[in-house]
Symmetry: C2
Subunit: 482 residues, 2 copies
Amino acid sequence: MTPEEFRRYGREVVDWVAGYWERVESLPVMSRAEPGEVRAALPAHPPETGEPFEALLADLDRVVVPGLTHWQHPSFFAYFSANASGPAVLADLLSSGLGVQGMLWATSPAATELETHVLDWLAELLGLPERFSSAGAGGGVIQDTASTAALVATLAALHRASGGEAGRAGVGSGRWTAYASAEAHSSVLKAVRMAGLGDAALRAVDVDPGTLAMRPEALRAAVETDLAAGMVPALVVATVGTTSTTAVDPVPAIGALCREHGMWLHVDAAYAGAAAVCPELRWTHEGVGEFADSYCMDPHKWLLTNFDCDAFWVADRAALLGAMSVLPEYLRNETSESGAVIDYRDWHPQLGRRFRALKLWAVLRWYGAEGLRAHVRGHVALAQELAAAVDADPRFELMAPHPLSLVCFRLATGDDEADDRGNAEMLRRLNASGALHLTHTRVRGRHTLRLAIGSPRTERRHVLAAWRRVQETATELAHGTA
Amino acid sequence: MTPEEFRRYGREVVDWVAGYWERVESLPVMSRAEPGEVRAALPAHPPETGEPFEALLADLDRVVVPGLTHWQHPSFFAYFSANASGPAVLADLLSSGLGVQGMLWATSPAATELETHVLDWLAELLGLPERFSSAGAGGGVIQDTASTAALVATLAALHRASGGEAGRAGVGSGRWTAYASAEAHSSVLKAVRMAGLGDAALRAVDVDPGTLAMRPEALRAAVETDLAAGMVPALVVATVGTTSTTAVDPVPAIGALCREHGMWLHVDAAYAGAAAVCPELRWTHEGVGEFADSYCMDPHKWLLTNFDCDAFWVADRAALLGAMSVLPEYLRNETSESGAVIDYRDWHPQLGRRFRALKLWAVLRWYGAEGLRAHVRGHVALAQELAAAVDADPRFELMAPHPLSLVCFRLATGDDEADDRGNAEMLRRLNASGALHLTHTRVRGRHTLRLAIGSPRTERRHVLAAWRRVQETATELAHGTA
């Protein structure tokens, strides 16, 4: 494709994306495709001869779009949002066009330095302490996702706890233990498993039945039981904003226990981290600055940066580098050996790395601190209004605290089993309507609906319409109508 | 940013990228930035108020571009290329704009089905066997990089070898062993370490001093020694096209040994895999179809697809799913439980995943099989012409076979130590010139220059100019001129 062709098709694609954002509200949120339907519309074999770009764009509309669940739809309330924004998407296009690799400082110095710089900026915006800044012993790096952050934190924790022996000789059997609340994200279990400890090494610590946050006394009991059995507690993952309900683990108490026993504290604030741009929500991060050895949050969830972009910080990069560094001859270079620069390949599992700092830089500059705060505050206010409406309807029950932009609720008649079926059926009908998309979880064992607000396109009218539809569906169910 | 603003700035960014591609040849290939120079040009604190997009574009030119090493420059001959192309970059922009997540089939069916489909297409283009196709027990998935593919292959191998015990109870101590040639990529060691086995579990198998490919008899000896010592050989990584010299391990003999001992065979063809689009180069993949349990190649290296895109296939997805699956309540859904669909979150470490199949689809359609073959053949022909020129200059020595698009050579006067210094100085001068960028390796212990051809912008004139400059620099060095 010549630069001139790129200009022409580039304009078409930009227009296509802008048009998609304008019309996405008119599309059914959740795809109605049946398994195999998309593939059936595609040729069985790849083309022998090249095709015009127009053919791709035609198939995008014909085959792909009907098979999508529209995450950028203003009535997408499922999971947590993965919100894109104009400045992020355009800066990501610049990154694709530049096509540089930032695995070493030397392979493109600006890719490394801009990343270090914007993560210092972001740390400042979130109120994270000096310890995480690159000016000291710590620093930030962009990981792809919070799952990878959890893996890297686990490896760094094992490195520190073993004095490097885990990396040299392996993790050995049955000694290391890790802890997270029973409500922690599945990526913690996956990280512990991938690191070779096995699922059995992760203790699911009890939560408070009301707040659904980790009970520090339960953590203490688990750690002491393990110590008595000759285990070596190495890692605690505290969650600020669980996936299920946005519960906030009590980091100060957890952190004090970690310090007492020399355990690595990783704080997973994948979704809720963005809230810390607002001073009035920064209570969610209490203890992080004092106690966390590592911390992550996802700008690709609630901070207007398109996927993937997980911001990960460590307080002391020595353990991280010790865990992750491998140095072959073909990557040796003078600047790296001088120690004056950061080589980010030693900060994550991959070697190659995209210039992702550009999109985060674009977001922080386009919106500014004020814009980011307004974005988060708007969603939190909508969630509080929704929660009040749920609370005011006697047919429904709020299932968990809702300090941020997720509201968990269910129809509750008092017959738990029947209600589980009723809520599942309500969810099925709501999603089948195409008008909105919610997902579910289990809270204290009961089927619960989650309505997560996070799209920059979501306005008050979308939340009110969603709630009206939930109420109407509840009425239909009560009357036995389809 | 409104859709209208996105259209306006989008056009500017598209023009910027097209203009960058047009002028990149005029820029020094390797950045001349000093450590800290880029950061010093940036404000110390993030902006409180949003800034216009023009400010970002201005700083892109002022601060970022001078700090880049230009991987898309036609005279970038370092590492392996990471070649972007117009159709890939535009399809990736579509992916950013759509902003969907493909972690489950249900979260956007088209994202999953298109990925499965184009990986079947690509398997066909590479001549990979039915075993890797999604129609049978195998299938393909896009990983970010070959490093992650190596990690996933290691975890699947351990799952199979342990009957699932590794994932449940951990890898234990000192039993599992893995094997790769002494020339294998550093990511294999990193994978083995991350999986909890420790560096000591990886055997660096001797290579043939001429071909630099793994010696199957050395592998057999290593495996038998380990078996006799009570170890459990679980994984062999064979490389098709090593990073250092593009050596091709003898997969048929290695595969037969793997089968004999029940070891998982992962074939890493990160760079060289693209060569298999050409029937005349498919000898490099001999044995892969018959013996490999998993295989990967990087379309982001030599197949015109911008980073990141590693294509990874398994012959039997059961071990992979066994190793990687974790199922929390909030991801449960009817379609997944029906077993009728693929949920790619169980195929890699991360949960969230970008719609990367779009860019690979665009590349396969825009270029067609013919275009991809012409792309690879052009580079291979240039490398052969260069190698002949090196061979014809008595001051230089070809250091390794060069069947693909990498040529390894060095100045050789007969005094090895002095020549090591001379080649290092030659490399320094070449890179400092700004006219081209090479990197080095060690071949049989000796400092060796690598000239890797892989950019779609590289023409014959760029390779000839590079070689002329190498010759001139050798002359300067011989005469002691600066």
